[in-house]
């Protein structure tokens, strides 16, 4: 990961507001993405992974949600949160592309795949019909769709799950963005197809220098695919660093719990432990460390003060008053 910084998210916060008041959904989320890097964002359902990506694309799912602070800096220093509609339209598609968990609902069912790709090319690059069509065939080939000339005229419902996800990747890559945001793109696929899609993403990174933000529940996938990991809990980042560091030496107790929950992790008892308790609702976040009601190492300090995200080793930061690796050392 020696590439240049291509995106930095700085203290991004999102709040939900309605007549009954307002509460934060995302709090102070910060990370950076370098050229050719694959960053994994993991966390339980509802921890704010999708919201983070939606916020940095300015695609929040409801008018009640608002970016309340922070910045999303592009390579050239511009802040996505401050862009005009025209600039935003250029950034989406040409700089940042996005793919989703359910390609069937995220593709237009009444427009052929080829036309959906060609449409973006024509709009962004101001190309004619024939040139756009030729480029579109090229992209279909690159994402591994066989026989692109005839598949281009097919509709979403005529593709299998894996091919549909490839088609959505092709649509997102139509205008050659530098960054691809992938929100759980393989969760709905079976294992073999999932492996194919992961290989495709890796290949796109290697060949095009694409940077990828990959959202998943699955630490195994992170281990296989990513360079860095950000762990989210209840709308905050709790640990962030290189993959090996975070997975082999988790410092936050939530990360440690996630690692222990992985069925493939060593130990091999066949019994998968779970983290007891439920994640909090954004409507009533606990004081102090948001994980303290579920944390075995919690004390009065944890309940009273929110731990800041601090860099303990170069590139590896963690928000915990009593980091797990230190606790383990003390016990040893």
């Amino acid at each position: 990961m020696t590439g240049a910084r291509i995106l930095s998210v700085e203290n991004l916060s999102v709040a939900y507001e309605d007549a009954g008041g307002s509460y934060n959904i995302l709090d102070d989320v910060s990370f950076t993405l370098r050229k050719g890097e694959i960053l994994g964002i993991v966390g339980e359902s509802g921890s704010g992974k999708s919201m983070t990506c939606r916020a940095l694309m300015r695609l929040l799912p409801s008018s009640r949600l608002r970016e309340t602070g922070g910045a999303v800096r592009l390579e050239d220093g511009r802040d996505v949160l401050g862009l005009s509609q025209d600039e935003l339209s250029e950034v989406r598609g040409r700089r940042i592309g996005m793919i989703f968990q359910n390609p069937a609902s995220h593709l237009d069912p009444v427009m052929s795949i080829g036309r959906q790709i060609a449409e973006s090319i024509r709009y962004h690059r101001k190309l004619g019909r024939t040139e756009a069509w030729a480029q579109m065939l090229d992209i279909l080939r690159q994402v591994g769709i066989p026989d692109p000339e005839s598949r281009a005229n097919a509709y979403t419902h005529e593709f299998s799950g894996g091919m549909r996800q490839r088609a959505m990747i092709a649509v997102a890559l139509a205008c050659d963005p530098d960054i691809l945001i992938a929100d759980e793109p393989t969760t709905a696929l079976d294992v073999t197809v999932q492996a194919q899609i992961l290989r495709l993403l890796q290949q796109l990174r290697d060949e095009r220098g694409l940077s990828i933000i990959f959202i998943t529940h699955d630490l195994g996938v992170v281990y296989q695919l990513c360079d860095t990991v950000a762990v989210m809990y209840a709308g905050r980042l709790c640990e962030y660093g290189p993959k090996h560091e975070v997975i082999h030496h988790p410092r936050h107790h939530y990360t440690a719990g996630l690692v222990a929950c992985q069925p493939s992790s060593e130990g091999g008892t066949g019994l998968v432990p779970t983290i007891p308790g439920q994640p909090p609702s954004p409507r009533d976040m606990p004081m102090g460390c948001r994980f303290h009601p579920r944390c075995g190492a919690a004390d009065a300090l944890c309940a009273a003060r929110q731990p800041p995200l601090e860099e303990s080793q170069p590139g590896h930061s963690c928000a915990c008053h009593h980091p797990a690796d230190l606790v383990a050392e003390a016990e040893a």
Partner: protein, 312 residues
């Protein structure tokens, strides 16, 4: 293109439908109290004259035999002879079909022309004063009977302002357009009310849909997303709605042609009923029934064309 194969066998499936319709119209028409021969000859006539007319039109035969002749004529492409006008019903209909066609097609076009931009404005500015106004107008429009609206339009545009003729059809093309504007507006507005509400709802759903979000994520501007991805998807249910309403439009044309004195098939039907002209009534009813069936068939073809998922 095997998704269009239904075009070949659907007409075969329609045969039982048409048989059913022919039986029902035949029986219904004959259940209107009164005697066509008496209506034709007036109150002061002789029994023998009545018998002659009945014999001439086969009205003295048993009912099943009359139905047999009716069907036999249908196969020859005839609808029988009008008792009152003494001409082929088919010829009679041919002279009356144009105004009705103009009325129905014109109403649908006007309704689409009014409803699409109204629904678009309401859906894209949801909650704005424009949205509220459009919703109030379209809800109110659902409650107005067509004939009441027709009378109001006549009072305003014909009587007060003198912009449009009160009644009639006209001869030259522009003359006809001039005459048919108010009638088409009457049914068009009522239909536009239904369409606007329906289109607005499906546009709102499509604006929130995943595929629209994904289109925005590709950097396509909102107007582009709306017209290329939201509108085509929201039109799918609208085609069905239009097909369902075609029966209502045809029956509405009977009322509108009466109010505006338009020499169309609706007027022919009403006169046929008053004069007990069985042949005319069952002929027009058959044509109306076939038209409804045909429109639904066309709507199916249109649905298959705009929605690639549909298989019939």
């Amino acid at each position: 293109m095997n998704r269009y194969r239904f075009v070949l066998y659907r007409p075969i499936q329609l045969i039982p439908v048409l048989v059913g319709i022919s039986v029902i119209t035949f029986v219904l028409v004959r259940s209107i109290p009164g005697d066509p021969a008496r209506v034709l000859l007036g109150p002061r006539t002789t029994e023998s004259a009545l018998a002659r007319v009945r014999e001439q039109f086969g009205l003295d035969e048993p009912l099943w035999l009359q139905y047999f002749y009716f069907v036999k004529n249908l196969f020859k492409g005839e609808l029988g002879k009008s008792i009152l006008y003494k001409v082929d019903v088919l010829k009679l209909i041919a002279t009356r079909i144009e105004p009705t066609l103009v009325l129905v097609i014109g109403s649908v076009l006007l309704a689409l022309l009014i409803a699409t931009p109204m629904a678009a404005i309401a859906a894209r500015r949801r909650g704005s004063w424009a949205d509220h106004l459009i919703r109030i107008i379209s809800t109110a429009g659902l409650g107005f009977p067509a004939f009441w609206l027709a009378i109001m339009l006549i009072l305003l545009f014909s009587v007060q302002l003198g912009w449009f003729p009160v009644t009639g059809y006209g001869r030259t093309f522009w003359d006809k357009v001039h005459h048919m504007t108010l009638p088409c507006l009457t049914t068009g507005l009522a239909l536009a009310a239904v369409l606007t509400r329906n289109l607005r709802a499906s546009m709102l759903a499509e604006l929130q849909s995943d595929q629209a979000t994904a289109a925005r994520a590709r950097g396509l501007p909102e107007t582009f997303v709306f017209w290329r991805h939201v509108v085509p998807n929201s039109l799918v249910p609208t085609v069905n709605l239009l097909a369902v309403n075609i029966g209502w439009l045809i029956s509405g044309s009977v009322v509108i042609e009466t109010v505006f004195a338009i020499p169309g098939m609706g007027q022919l039907l009403v006169r046929g009923i008053f004069t007990r002209d069985y042949m005319v009534v069952q002929g027009v009813a058959m044509v109306f029934a076939c038209a409804t069936v045909l429109v639904n068939f066309l709507a199916d073809i249109l649905t298959v064309t705009i929605d690639p998922r549909v298989k019939l």
